[in-house]
């Protein structure tokens, strides 16, 4: 019993460790000045309008632009996309605050509350730092709620733009950027136009998402790349379950997934031994459709098949699974179902979760 339990514990531990180091790297990708400088070479170049608080790039992503000064290299205005991990907007009296990652990790040094302006009659008058313009409070709230749904924050530059960036870094931005760019920050420079491609793997398509391992694996990587760590974990576990499922399916097919010909119990039992599924001394548990009770009404051709038969390690285990031994109900469920079925449950639950999540996102849009 404990061997099987440890196997599952090990399985979940591995699944967690697969993404945790990456998650940590995403949370603090730019802690040192050197890292911040490096981030500039991966800057964004959205369509920025001077003085705007919220800007939208060509891909439809929303940003907050903050003016940081003149670029001495070419005299153009320099903006930094205020590296705000904006979770939501709230008001206290007339003040409007943008709450950064307030409800995210248990320990998160990035959590901040930023006063962005004041509100009157549903219109926000932004502070000078944020462009000193006005805007709708409802719209601002919407932007904040959708802030983290933008595509990945790491982008590559077109080569020609990268070349122009270097001297700017040295002369001006480096000093500013360290004050304005948060750990998640992405910089942008006004007036520049660049082509950028998100460095995410992209979400799997509808049909692709049903492909074992590939669909869930791709979704897991995409989730982590876009900062959805919980979903990243869910999909990593799904991918690991899929690996198990595929292995079980391959093994089952190799040994003969379906017993054809005689399906009387004695014949099937001999066949199970011959195909190496069970030793002679082992009992077999009909885990889904019992051989007796209501299972008597089910034809042998369905119930006396490998999918319904679990080799038992011992007589006691078999009795315990039937409720005549030392197991609780939860343990009976755990040990009385084949591993492939548990993996299937995990995998399918994850898929349903992803479906609901997509549905929710579509509804919001």
């Amino acid at each position: 019993m404990f061997t099987r339990l440890n196997k599952w514990f090990f399985f979940l531990s591995v699944a967690a460790f697969v993404w945790l180091p990456r998650a940590d790297a995403m949370v603090h990708p730019m802690n040192s000045p050197a890292q911040v400088t490096a981030a500039i070479t991966q800057a964004l170049f959205p369509e920025v309008e001077q003085g705007a608080l919220i800007v939208e790039d060509a891909a439809g992503n929303l940003w907050m632009a903050e003016y940081v000064g003149k670029n001495p290299y070419n005299g153009e205005d320099v903006y930094v996309l205020s590296p705000l991990g904006l979770d939501y907007v709230t008001t206290e009296g007339n003040n409007v605050f943008w709450m950064i990652e307030k409800d995210s990790f248990w320990y998160n040094p990035d959590v901040r509350k930023i006063l962005v302006g004041t509100v009157s009659g549903g219109e926000v008058a932004f502070n000078k730092t944020f462009g000193a313009g006005t805007g709708s409070l409802d719209l601002l709230k919407k932007y904040a709620e959708h802030f983290w749904e933008r595509p990945g924050i790491v982008f590559s530059l077109a080569a020609d733009i990268s070349g122009e960036i270097a001297p700017i870094q040295d002369l001006t931005i480096k000093d500013y950027i360290q004050h304005y760019v948060r750990d998640y920050g992405c910089a942008t420079i006004g007036e520049y136009r660049g082509q950028f491609q998100p460095k995410t793997v992209g979400e799997p398509g509808k049909a692709e998402s049903f492909a074992p391992v590939w669909g869930s694996g791709r979704q897991a990587i995409y989730d982590v790349q876009t900062g959805h760590y919980v979903w990243g974990t869910v999909n990593t576990v799904m991918a690991a379950s899929d690996v198990f499922l595929v292995k079980a399916a391959a093994t089952g097919i190799a040994k003969g997934a379906w017993k054809t010909g005689g399906v009387a119990w004695s014949t099937v039992r001999r066949w199970m031994g011959k195909t190496g599924r069970a030793e002679a001394r082992q009992e077999l548990h009909h885990w889904a459709i019992p051989q007796g009770s209501w299972g008597k009404n089910v034809p042998n051709v369905i119930k006396n098949q490998p999918w319904n038969l679990m080799p038992m390690e011992s007589l006691e285990l078999h009795d315990a699974i039937h409720g005549w031994g030392e197991m609780s109900k939860a343990e009976r469920l755990m040990y009385g179902t084949p591993d492939w079925f548990k993996a299937l449950l995990i995998s399918e639950s994850g898929r349903v979760g992803n479906e609901l999540r997509d549905q929710g996102q579509n509804d919001q849009e």
Binding site: F2, L5, W265, R269, R270, M272, G273, A278, E279, A280, R281, Q282, E283, L284, H285, Q291, G292, M312, L315, E316, H318, D319, H322, G323, W324, G325, E326, M327, S328, A330, E331, M334
Partner: protein, 138 residues
Amino acid sequence: MTKNEITFPVICFYRHLLRIRNDWDTLVTTTTAGVGNGMFDNMLIVDSNGKAIRVKSARKLHGVGPFFGYNIFLNQRIKVELTFDSEPFQMLTDDVRKRVLNSFQKRHGWQTRGDFDELKSSVENASTVAEIIRLVTS
């Protein structure tokens, strides 16, 4: 009957089920679910020499192992104190055999073994309780 008077391994009958226990320690170690499922209620213990005693019930003494014996399913591994319902008495090999064959008939799991017919035949021909115990242990 004390533990020193028992010749292990023993065969324990309850309902139509049976258990083999190789020493006293494993005989009195179970789980709270095991006690709850009535494993010890009216259990008949027969040792390798055919000496038998009937158990009335079992009472929890304490948890065993890390975390007081609790596993993640909150099922606790425990030591129990057995309350005997009778004085020890001698059982014939045939009586023990009948009980085992009765279990073979009533407990469906036996017949899912690949060697059930041979096992049944061997038990039918066994000459001692110790041999029966060895056969059902295999």
